[in-house]
């Protein structure tokens, strides 16, 4: 993405900045540009609202994922079992 000139963004760049903002990775310049863009663009305003709501919901759900290591362990156990079954059936 190019740096916005005079804080003017097109919609796809605005959406991109908006996503970054949800992960706290947008620069001050990008944040300001979104605010200005959102003043004029209803579509992006709606998207921003939806996007922050999604972040809130995910935070609220407090999803606990398996770590990749734990998954690897399970996978290995499952693989062993599958190969055992295959060898016994053949």
């Amino acid at each position: 993405m190019q740096k916005p000139k005079f804080f003017i963004l097109n919609c796809s760049d605005a959406a991109n900045c908006c996503d970054k903002k949800e992960y706290n990775e947008a620069s001050v310049r990008e944040k300001t540009s979104i605010i200005i863009h959102n003043l004029f663009c209803k579509k992006c305003r709606d998207y921003s609202a939806k996007n922050s709501k999604l972040t809130q919901l995910i935070k609220k759900a407090r999803i606990k994922g398996c770590t990749s290591e734990e998954k690897k362990n399970i996978k290995e156990r499952l693989k062993q079992e599958i190969s055992k079954q295959e060898s016994s059936s053949s």
Binding site: N16, E22, G65, C66, I74, L78
Partner: protein, 183 residues
């Protein structure tokens, strides 16, 4: 109605998170939840000939996991008296720690909230199941595990701008799906 079939090789990637979340709220311990999930997969594998194809893979696995959770509680309560809750603060070793144990839960957290959260959690995971698997994996790593942009890019060998496009698509798809399922 299409007949469902089983594909054990993809189970871990597709359902591990879903089952893990289901288990952890019930047993409240990471390690045990993990064991239960892997036991579920193994049990599923062993009895895959009994799968009739009427339910989806996930429903079938969840029903196995349910039995596993019940079995787990039976096992730990099998010795007589273990099911009782004992309150005993005369223990010298824990001197002074009883106060911390007595702290009230947050006022704004009720049982209904917890239940709603669990439903929401499972709804989100179900929706993640429905979107493009690669996008879902990247989205999970970035949003749920909270990994750095750089780490995600290295893991999946993509550029940052690529990552943001994927995140955008995943978010849009997820929002649309959740709107249907949740709101």
């Amino acid at each position: 109605m299409p007949k469902h079939s089983l594909d054990p090789n993809k189970w871990v990637d597709k359902y591990a998170d879903y089952l893990f979340n289901y288990a952890i709220v019930r047993v409240n311990d990471r390690e045990i939840a993990n064991d239960l999930v892997s036991e579920t997969f193994l049990a599923g594998l062993n009895s895959k000939d009994n799968f009739l194809g009427k339910a989806s893979e996930r429903t079938w696995l969840i029903s196995i996991l349910k039995r596993k959770v019940i079995d787990y509680y039976r096992r730990i309560n099998s010795q007589k008296g273990k099911a009782e809750v004992r309150i005993n603060y005369s223990d010298d070793e824990n001197d002074g720690e009883w106060l911390e144990e007595q702290v009230a839960d947050d006022f704004d957290r009720s049982a209904e909230d917890e239940m709603e959260n669990e439903e929401l959690r499972l709804a989100i995971l179900e929706c993640l199941d429905e979107i493009n698997p690669k996008h879902a994996a990247i989205f999970k790593m970035k949003t749920i595990d909270g990994a750095d942009t750089e780490a995600v890019c290295n893991e999946f060998k993509i550029t940052p701008s690529n990552l943001w496009v994927i995140i955008h698509r995943a978010r849009t798809a997820l929002a649309a799906c959740l709107e249907k399922k949740w709101l």
